[in-house]
Symmetry: C2
């Protein structure tokens, strides 16, 4: 396809001609002002826009307005089911506010995260949502660039940036208390050692409150493979815990696979409660009991936090809910 | 946070002052011309850009260049594991060509797909990748807008749009032939009725070539729930096929759950071969034997097809590969 073969782009003048109005009136309609336009005329202009497939040059409008009504989303890896669901919820929430979401994976091989942040900033985005762990330097860069930003799904407050999250410790406590309610006393935790995880604290506190000794503490990566590796280690060690709190759905699914591969029954031999509440763990067998993060509410709040910062507290923490299925030992009829 | 509290954006003049050069020289460095700049001077300018965190106004550059070095991606639902992996591969492939990817879910509740296509077009994207089924009207709109576009992962060629896909029929044949190789003769197909699926044809052809009667043909939706519902129907019917070719990994995972719930063993009672090759089906138990689509190559080709249409045939079809695990009846040592 050569450039010559492409149809000439439709201009504002074409729209004006088709609608039988001046180009100024077309502008008033498309920019919602500064002058009012009679409803029937407005209708005619919008009809012309539709029929001709006119696309106002948003790059030009971005220049004049100083922002491109786009939001940036920095996510570590959109393939992770939790982040896939978060991306989707943020896409919906930003569309609710007539913004498009520019999603950037920070695990790209081509460039360090700081360059990706600079590139997003250079596109005059009106806000940045961060679903990725930042270095101090990256955070300082974001502050220097002056883009309204919000961290989502991280652990607690971050100095200098506003945030939206869940009460991870309380969620973990709830999961462990459910396992204790089943009568299990040897309850392990599988999570990440990458940084201090409040879920680990919640697990410890729930056991302490019930006067139980903490079971095995297994550190691994936040991935299917990480859960699988942790499960293999438990099976090979030969001393299986009676129950496990897994720090993420992905870890739980990997763990489940390793246990089944090792001939261990779930929940009869080892019960599992998981964390996140993604849809995928409702389609493993046994279905996973999981601590659910309210992604839609979190996404809606994060979008408000960057577009209208004064309307949202600097840090918003949501409560989690337990979705009870069969991996914990409950039956479908419980 | 008030606007006053934000630091003043760094300007080209600031960069020039810091580097001790004229603003023209800064432009030459950032735009790679039109005049050459001595290497050491260039180094100094880039250093200043880095230190000051300068962000050239890409909206202004987009205006002058007539494109914003962004690509649009229209995807039905980024949460579907196959599309999540495709999004990730396209994000990498476009970053390889210094483009950012604007991902839009076409299942948004706010607006019909045609409006989303118009919005993407109005952002002066330099290409559009479509991983979603389009209506004839939507396709006509894209052609009228004159944006270089490519369909990815659809069935065969689409009149008027270029495409990148796999040989679905051959992939399905390969999967069924593998099941036949295990000695199974009663082989069902679970897929979507939404449109004619070449995988259904591949299944039929493979059985015909082996002089076998086609087993059950179950139509359902492309989702975990769809696979689960199909599995429930098979279990309730009481006449289980000996083996199943599932048209997607999601369908296969839902099917597996329904079978286990119904006390059916996989692969001992029912063997499964799946289609797509996403990472997730390597972490179910038994692990899924699946027909793998080469997503990275497909993504790289799709990006080339929109940025450099003359270098890519109008329709590029990739071969699939069988990833053998245990759900088909093979053992880990096979």
């Amino acid at each position: 396809m050569s450039d010559d073969a492409r149809p000439r782009p439709v201009t504002r003048a074409d729209v004006a001609r088709y609608a039988g109005v001046s180009t100024a009136v077309v502008s008033y309609v498309l920019n919602d002002g500064p002058k009012a336009v009679a409803p029937l005329t407005k209708e005619r202009v919008l009809d012309a826009v539709r029929v001709l497939g006119y696309r106002p040059n948003l790059a030009a409008r971005a220049l004049s307005k100083g922002q491109a009504d786009m939001l940036g989303l920095l996510v570590n890896d959109n393939r992770n089911p939790f982040f896939a669901e978060l991306c989707h919820a943020l896409d919906q929430a930003s569309a609710d506010r007539s913004r498009q979401l520019l999603i950037v994976n920070s695990d790209r091989r081509q460039a360090p995260t700081s360059e990706q942040i600079r590139d997003l900033a250079s596109r005059q985005i009106s806000g940045l949502i961060i679903a990725s762990v930042l270095t101090a330097g990256e955070q300082a860069l974001i502050e220097r660039l002056g883009i309204p930003s919000v961290m989502i799904g991280q652990f607690g407050e971050t100095d200098g940036l506003s945030g939206v999250g869940v009460d991870f410790a309380a969620g973990a406590r709830m999961g462990v208390e459910h396992l204790i309610g089943h009568g299990y006393t040897d309850i392990a935790f599988i999570g990440s050692a990458a940084r201090y995880d409040p879920r680990e604290r919640g697990w410890q506190e729930a056991l302490g409150d019930a006067h139980l000794t903490p079971g095995a503490l297994v550190h691994t990566t936040f991935s299917y493979q990480g859960g699988y590796d942790a499960g293999r280690r438990l099976v090979e060690r030969g001393t299986l815990p009676r129950a496990v709190l897994a720090a993420s759905d992905q870890i739980a699914v990997g763990l489940l696979t390793a246990l089944r591969e090792g001939g261990v029954r779930v929940p009869e031999d080892v019960a599992i409660v998981s964390f996140d509440g993604t849809a995928s763990v409702d389609f493993v067998w046994p279905r996973m009991t999981t601590v659910v993060q309210p992604l839609e509410q979190m996404a809606e709040t994060a979008i408000r936090a960057v577009l209208d910062p004064d309307s949202v507290p600097r840090y918003v923490e949501f409560a989690t809910q337990l979705r009870v299925r069969e991996s914990c030992g409950c039956t479908a009829d419980d």
